[in-house]
């Protein structure tokens, strides 16, 4: 009986001490981690829409931001989009004109695509295709030459990752349309 008590006591004390120190560390760093996450989104927005002066998150709609310029007029909408890539989730930020007709750019926030192949979706030559890309009726990912202004050309050897980016964007743009569209 005494031995059982000793075991229980040893485990309780250890776990208590662990929990206490973790709670402390997490409390000290919580603000900084949130700040990092916010800064990452803001940096991406500023890269895509440098004229932005004010970012306003649309309440009750997770991950949608209205961007205003110096004259306080709405220039674009920014939105977070997430979906399955080749090896795991791809998390992106898209910026689109308020009319919801043309994209203004895409930034990759997080992805675990294959280095050297799928991971190239984060490179400029691929992302630049989204500047002024038309989203109606939908973004199309083609393997050969682009022939319409709603098409992007897939990265050689990474068709699945390229297509995933287009699909994730299409899905999210459709959501935006039902929310903000006329």
């Amino acid at each position: 009986m005494r031995y059982v008590l000793k075991i229980v006591l040893a485990l309780t004390i250890t776990c208590g001490a662990c929990a206490f120190s973790l709670a402390f560390v997490s409390r000290v760093t919580k603000d900084k981690i949130e700040q990092n996450a916010r800064k990452r989104i803001e940096d991406a927005i500023m890269r895509l829409a440098p004229e932005t002066k004010k970012i306003e998150e649309v309440k009750a709609a997770g991950g949608i931001y209205q961007l205003y310029d110096a004259k306080n007029s709405l220039v674009s909408l920014a939105f977070l989009a997430e979906g399955d890539g080749y090896q795991g989730k791809i998390k992106m930020l898209g910026v689109i004109a308020p009319s919801l007709e043309r994209m203004q750019g895409v930034e990759i926030i997080d992805s675990v695509e294959t280095p050297g192949l799928g991971a190239r979706i984060a490179e400029d030559f691929f992302k630049d295709q989204f500047k002024t890309l038309r989203v109606a009726p939908a973004i199309e990912c083609v393997k050969d030459k682009v022939s319409a202004d709603n098409q992007i050309s897939a990265i050689t050897g990474a068709t699945i990752s390229s297509r995933a980016v287009a699909n994730i964007m299409n899905k999210r743009v459709a959501e935006l349309k039902t929310r903000f569209g006329k």
Binding site: I7, A10, V25, T29, K32, N36, G116, L117
Partner: protein, 192 residues
């Protein structure tokens, strides 16, 4: 001194004991990853072994592994949170491999094999040696893979522009190939 040096060469955790392979192969796509993962492991290893050595006389044998695991998990979580707060880019590129230090067998291995039987000071020296041994191999692996797979070292271009990167070096197969060669060289050197 003997305790410290063992981990660096003679009883090297990766090259002689072949422990902790999973994280080694997964994170060494670049030198920066190797350095940060290595230092994370050094921190966890040193403090876990210190605490384990401290409490070894009070912990009943039946629950010792559970207690070690809780201690290790605590330090790993601290490292994870620290990277997230201060080095968000590194934290992203190491991904799930920081939390996975918890099940890195080098750490539980040293706690059980050394720290639970020795005083605090030798335990810390042993942990430091093992941790730094792990780190240098991670850096070497990272350097070879980054150089051949991306043509850079620490992000600086080393290879001439005409060099076509060998993407396979950044994939898991490249990790196995390079590590295989390093272990083979190590075996050859130690044969005599």
């Amino acid at each position: 001194m003997k305790d410290f040096l063992a981990g660096l060469w003679k009883e090297h955790p990766l090259l002689r004991q072949l422990l902790g392979m999973c994280s080694t192969l997964a994170v060494t796509t670049s030198v920066v990853n190797g350095i940060s993962m290595g230092l994370g492991v050094v921190f966890v290893l040193v403090f876990s072994c210190l605490i384990v050595s401290c409490i070894r006389k009070f912990v009943p044998d039946e629950v010792r592994i559970a207690v070690y695991a809780a201690v290790i998990a605590t330090f790993v979580t601290i490292v994870d949170i620290f990277f997230k707060a201060n080095f968000p880019d590194i934290s992203r590129s190491l991904g799930p491999y920081v939390p996975l230090i918890i099940v890195n067998c080098i750490i539980l291995g040293r706690c059980e094999a050394f720290a639970s039987k020795n005083d605090m000071w030798p335990s810390v020296k042993d942990a430091l040696g093992m941790g730094l041994g792990y780190t240098w191999v991670l850096i070497v692996l990272g350097a070879i893979r980054e150089l051949l797979g991306a043509g850079t070292i620490l992000g600086f271009k080393i290879m001439p522009a005409s060099y076509e990167p060998m993407v396979i070096m950044l994939l898991p197969a490249g990790a196995f190939i390079v590590l295989g060669f390093i272990v083979a060289i190590m075996n050859k050197l130690e044969q005599k």
